[in-house]
Symmetry: C2
Subunit: 300 residues, 2 copies
């Protein structure tokens, strides 16, 4: 099964104490698509400006990602400039230039509307609702959000949550959304808002998945060196949903496996700047690290 | 096999936004002993003042903990006063009164010297070395330390590390000891200092165990409510070493199981103030949570 993603395609400039890059491919839909494309066919809906490099269109195409849903508007592509400190934790945003993304109206091409796996990346909940109205009976809809939307569009976000199967956010967002510091209580509150499954990303501490069936605790891969944490969350979502769509059974075992695949992909992304590590990633590397992940928390 | 622990017995006053307690049983050796006593016989070497409540002596005795090694000095018992914020993270120390603990000279009673499992709790590395000279060929020696000793007694601490099998510290301590922010590199550096096994405690994010055999990632138990985090680390060590001594095989599978038992015990301790939850803990509760722990990270 293929996956439809609606989100941002951007040009990122990233600074860390160990180096940096300028105007490289970024945005939630880019990380998501490149990760998911390692498992299944991906259809992307996004907007870019007329300055968007052909090189990146070529990169998407080389991964078999369908680009019909990428609108090209006159103006500049969404740009983000971030700076990380020595802990490579939350980056300081030095500049966010929405440019053509400011007027993004996600139109789902006719032959994408029967998509069975859908990811609503972190965009305005009003746009997420607009996408939900255009797709026909997907098997699984997952979404992301952030503190900004939790604070500015609480009503619209609640409406989104009533209509998705799965929410993938980080722990600070989960605490803020539920207004509850204990993560297990926060998870219960969020599941009551609509989604059947909540995945809480905790960076180097792994991920927690909450559902009616209980809690699943996924480790993160202890890395020798993290170069650039940008896009780890969207890569996780891409690996997760790609694996779900490829497996095409929506059950407990598949969900857990997909969480591990999400973690595996994210662990690769942070090893280099931007999407670089994702672009040359081999299946045998993914499988080897998947096995290593399972070994991490196995008793025998 | 029995476990010998050398550390502090204290009277703690603890404040949290949700309540507090005054002059209750605390100290590394107390938490350790009560946790380890749920698995095996425990011998404790510590010092108390003449104000130490008989009630706590009675508590230790009721758990079968051998007290011959507890010195009673004239003066006051070690007291600590700490205050936690809403995140129940690192406490603010409002007062540390060493009292009789200032002149603690750990003398190991003659019939304790053949102890096979030894825990050197977080005390001056000079005293840890003094204990090491008194014990005869233990099977397994584990130790703890803290930032203060890493900074003030680096030479003595290095000497301790050359002579222990296992170091149990938290992640900030591991990073400081190794002078390395990436935990996997820090672990490698520390293993080169002497211990065969390093356990890094990460609070609500679980624990990592590093050895020649690789990395083991233990989850922590997602709790509904944390009341008081005091003593979680020493409880972990007690549960861990108690389980090791009870099992009495020093191998990879036993180490992993013991890490889970340590995490199980710590998850109980934080559910109430001080040692309270440890004192009425039942074996069936421990086994039930052990099973729940394994389930947390199991794929099937």
């Amino acid at each position: 099964m293929s996956v439809l993603v609606v989100g941002s395609v951007a040009l990122d400039s990233i600074e860390t104490p160990f180096g940096g890059v300028q105007d490289v491919l970024g945005g939630s839909a880019s990380y998501f698509s490149l990760a998911a494309s390692l498992f299944t066919d991906v259809k992307i809906v996004a907007i870019v400006g007329d300055d968007f490099p052909e090189e990146y269109i070529g990169l998407f195409k080389s991964k078999g990602i369908e680009l019909k849903g990428i609108q090209k508007a006159s103006g500049k592509t969404f740009r983000w400039h971030g700076k990380y400190g020595y802990d490579l934790g939350e980056p300081e945003s030095l500049g966010t230039y929405l440019n053509v993304f400011e007027n993004f109206d996600p139109v789902i091409p006719g032959d994408y509307r029967d998509a069975e796996y859908v990811f609503l990346a972190n965009i305005n909940p009003e746009l997420q609702l607009h996408v939900l109205k255009q797709v026909e009976k997907p098997k699984l809809v997952a979404c992301d959000t952030m503190n900004y939307w939790i604070e500015k569009k609480p009503k619209e976000l609640r409406e989104v949550l009533k209509n998705v199967n799965l929410l993938i956010i980080n722990d600070a967002e989960a605490r803020e959304l539920a207004q509850e510091p204990m993560i297990i209580k926060a998870a219960r509150t969020i599941l009551e808002m609509g989604p059947e499954v909540l995945i809480v990303k905790r960076g180097e501490y792994g991920a927690l998945m909450f559902s009616e069936e209980g809690i699943f605790w996924a480790p993160s891969y202890p890395l020798e060196a993290v170069v650039d944490p940008t896009g780890a969350g969207d890569t996780f979502a891409g690996g997760f949903l790609g694996a779900m769509a490829n497996d095409d059974t929506y059950g407990s075992a598949g969900l857990k496996k997909a969480v591990i695949y999400g973690s595996v992909l994210a662990s690769f992304t942070v090893e280099d700047f931007g999407v670089k590590r994702l672009t040359d990633l081999q299946h045998r590397e993914i499988e080897a690290r998947f096995t290593a992940f399972l070994k991490l928390s196995r008793l025998d």
